[in-house]
């Protein structure tokens, strides 16, 4: 199988994730879309690694997964904290950082 198909699929997944981040307002969905983008990257890494024929790309993919796991922990923790403080679960309403 040609590497192009994998890359096309990875780009599609990435674009879907990015679009989701831009259009959805729920923090949980945004977190999911972030995961989607990270895994799109992983797919591309693994595909290129197979094409080149060594394992370095796959090592990178594993590192990305670890980072993604950490990121999910932090993100979900934030969402729980928001929920506990009875803050709206809407990223557009949470704009105290406006300059």
């Amino acid at each position: 199988m040609n590497v192009e198909w994998y890359v096309v699929l990875s780009s599609l997944l990435f674009a879907i994730g990015a679009m989701g981040i831009l259009v959805r307002r729920s923090p949980i969905v945004i977190l999911l879309c972030l995961e989607l983008m990270l895994n799109a990257g992983n797919l591309a890494l693994v595909a290129f690694s197979r094409m080149v024929g060594n394992q370095q790309g796959q090592v990178f993919a594993i590192v990305v997964m670890v980072v993604a796991a950490c990121e999910v922990v932090v993100g979900l923790g934030l969402i729980v904290a928001l929920f506990r403080r009875k803050l709206p679960l809407d990223v557009d309403a949470l704009r105290e950082l406006r300059g």
Binding site: A18, L94, R95, L97, R98, G99
Partner: protein, 669 residues
């Protein structure tokens, strides 16, 4: 111990006194500050005497020694030492300064007793004596400038001693600013000396100067004129004199010590010390002599019209320093210094007596309100009279011998200097008139209410505390004149100090009776032996003729004063009426303050305002405000991006990375 070791001790003692009082004022009991202050100066005087004894044991030609503790700076041909120079001149000055200072400290011990700032006063006073001794003992021009600036500061601190009094702080600032003008002159003179001679050291400068400079060369004239700027500012000579009368805002012992006996004579000392340079620049010396003459005449006329007791005496100080400056400038070095010594005695005494009278008047200084103190305060009055007699050069008092020795020298030098002698005699006539005007208005007659109160109750009159300059009432905490000061009749230390000075004022002249004793001149002359003018000597007969003329003029002046203010008291009013312009000129101090205000202060202020309007507003403000605008504007622009929408930031990120990726794609293909 050698003479220089004693000299170092002389310097050390007042410094220790000042520091221990300043730092230890919480630890030591109240009156101890006065004891420490007086004792340190008294011991310095003893060391000064030891210095003199040591010098007298040596050959007259070898009586000069230099000593150095360490090098300030020794690099690239510059060689500045912390060094002193001991010779007849500095020994003489040390003795006059420490001797009079000891007595004035003793007087202050009684006079300032009720003042809340007692410790501060003695600390400042000791610091002043230290600075003055540093000035006269300095062995090079750098240390001279240090001492010169220190006495300027001490004078400022003591004039503004009652710092809650607005007029006193203003007078202090005025004195400081005018003195800084003089400091600049002195510093520039030192620069020029270093540029031409390559050294600051007295010995080297005076040895090299006659080889390097030819007579009246412009550099040596410039050096001397710059030195004169310093000397005139410190010694209150025209036109830099306006600070001295205002300096009378300070406590009376300060007026007595700094502004009569010691600091104001620093200019005379400077001219005598640098006489080698002045001999090489006769033009500058003549300018100095004429300024001295002008000052003594102008100050004499002003003193006649003043009604403030201390200010009138201040103008007489200016006038007497005019004599000294004239003397040392025309070559009468020992004579000028002799007058410096006798003047220190009788002027310090006059101020002390005036201080005693002023405290009996509850700090009022207006002689129009005073009369009858002969009945109320006999001791003070007698000493006031002694001081006045000496100031008026009454025969056989100290001022009689010293003043006429200067004038006899001027006459012996001949030429235009004879005119100076005549001017000096006119000044002596004025001196007798204004001095005895004070005497005849303050001492005789019916006691004024304050004096009558003193006679009846034996206690000092307590008025509401009044600022004598503005007639405004003041409250009396620290920084204001104490509740009341003391009078000599009721205070032993004050009486002792005044009695000793009175003795000096009467008899100090006897050390130098022409042809009879000649002690002082024999001691001082070797220090000036390298001046060609030391050849000029009035004959003994000429000196006695001068003394006779001087005594006659003095008696004539006193008689005139008696006629004007005792015999026919309506005459002065008539003169005021008839000679109104002259009277106004004298009353307003020849409009010097106004002239300086018009010529210097206003232009300076105008330039300042102009610079403020143009340079400050346009350039400085433009730069500052422009910077602020740029930064602020940039901030406002960037703020738009910081919307607070997380999705907005995400979009920016994605677009940014997409843009970067696109750029690399396009640039690599």
């Amino acid at each position: 111990m050698s003479a220089t070791s004693w000299a170092w001790l002389v310097l050390l003692l007042p410094l220790l006194g000042s520091i221990s009082i300043a730092l230890g004022f919480r630890a030591i009991p109240a009156r101890a500050a006065g004891v420490v202050g007086t004792a340190s100066i008294g011991l310095a005087f003893v060391c000064g005497v030891a210095m003199l004894v040591n010098l007298l044991g040596q050959d007259p030609e070898a009586r000069h020694h230099a000593s150095s503790l360490w090098d300030y700076a020794s690099i690239a041909g510059l060689d500045i030492k912390l060094g002193i120079y001991v010779d007849q001149l500095s020994t003489f000055m040390v003795l006059v300064v420490t001797g009079v200072s000891t007595l004035i400290h003793l007087y202050s011990f009684g006079y300032m007793r009720s003042d809340e700032g007692y410790h501060r006063f003695f600390s400042y006073l000791n610091f002043f004596v230290f600075s003055m001794l540093l000035l006269v003992l300095a062995g090079n021009f750098v240390l001279l400038i240090v001492g010169w600036a220190f006495v300027g500061f001490a004078s400022y601190a003591l004039i503004s001693f009652w710092y809650r009094r607005a007029t006193a702080t203003r007078a202090g600032m005025k004195a400081f600013v005018i003195n800084v003008v003089g400091d600049i002159g002195l510093v520039l003179a030192a620069f020029l000396i270093f540029r031409e001679l390559g050294t600051f050291d007295y010995g080297a400068v005076f040895a090299k100067a006659p080889e390097v400079f030819s007579t009246n060369e412009w550099t040596v004239t410039a050096i001397c004129l710059l030195l004169l700027v310093g000397a005139f500012a410190k010694s209150a000579q025209l036109p830099l004199h306006t600070w001295l009368p205002d300096a009378m805002e300070g406590p009376t012992p300060v007026s007595s010590l700094i502004h009569a006996a010691t600091m104001v004579t620093a200019g005379v000392y400077l001219i005598a010390r640098t006489h080698v340079l002045f001999v090489l620049a006769p033009t500058a010396a003549d300018i100095a002599a004429f300024t001295g003459l002008a000052t003594l005449l102008v100050a004499g006329t002003i003193a006649i019209a003043q009604t403030d007791l201390k200010r009138a005496i201040a103008y007489s100080t200016m006038s007497q320093i005019g004599y000294m400056v004239m003397g040392v400038s025309i070559g009468a070095y020992a004579q000028g210094l002799f007058h410096l010594m006798t003047h220190a005695f009788f002027k310090a005494l006059l101020f002390m007596a005036a201080g005693s009278i002023i405290s009996a008047m509850a700090n009022r200084q207006d002689i129009d309100r005073m009369s009858g103190f002969w009945k109320a305060m006999r001791f003070t009055s007698v000493l006031f009279l002694i001081g006045s007699l000496a100031l008026a050069a009454f025969p056989l008092t100290s001022g009689f011998f010293s003043k006429d020795s200067i004038l006899a020298f001027a006459e012996a030098r001949g030429g235009m200097y004879e005119w100076m002698a005549i001017g000096g005699y006119v000044g002596a006539f004025l001196t007798a008139i204004y001095t005895f005007r004070l005497v005849f208005r303050v001492l005789p007659g019916d006691p004024c209410p304050e004096a009558a109160h003193l006679i009846e109750s034996g206690e000092l009159y307590h008025g509401p505390p009044i600022n004598p300059a503005t007639e405004e009432e003041e409250d009396t905490e620290v920084g204001f004149p104490g509740a009341h000061h003391h009078i000599a009749e009721q205070s032993k230390p004050m009486a002792v100090a005044m009695a000793v000075l009175g003795f000096g004022a009467l008899f100090a002249g006897l050390v130098q009776v022409p042809g009879v004793t000649d002690v002082l001149f024999k001691f001082l002359d070797p220090a000036f032996a390298n001046s060609p003018l030391s050849e000029v000597h009035p004959s003994v007969g000429a000196e006695w003729r001068g003394l006779a003329i001087g005594g006659l003029i003095s008696i004539l002046g006193i008689a005139t004063a008696w006629l004007l203010w005792v015999r026919q008291p309506e005459l002065p009013a008539l003169f005021r009426e008839r000679l109104r312009p002259v009277y106004l000129l004298c009353l307003n101090k020849w409009y010097f303050d106004e002239a300086i205000d018009f010529l210097v202060v206003r232009p300076a202020l105008a330039i300042g305002r102009f610079a403020n309007r143009t340079f400050e507003r346009l350039v400085v403000d433009g730069l500052v405000i422009g910077t602020e605008d740029v930064v602020g504007g940039g901030g406002r622009l960037v703020r738009i991006v910081q919307s607070g929408y997380v999705r907005g930031y995400a979009l920016l990120l994605i677009v940014g990375f997409a843009g970067l990726a696109l750029y690399f794609l396009l640039s690599s293909s």
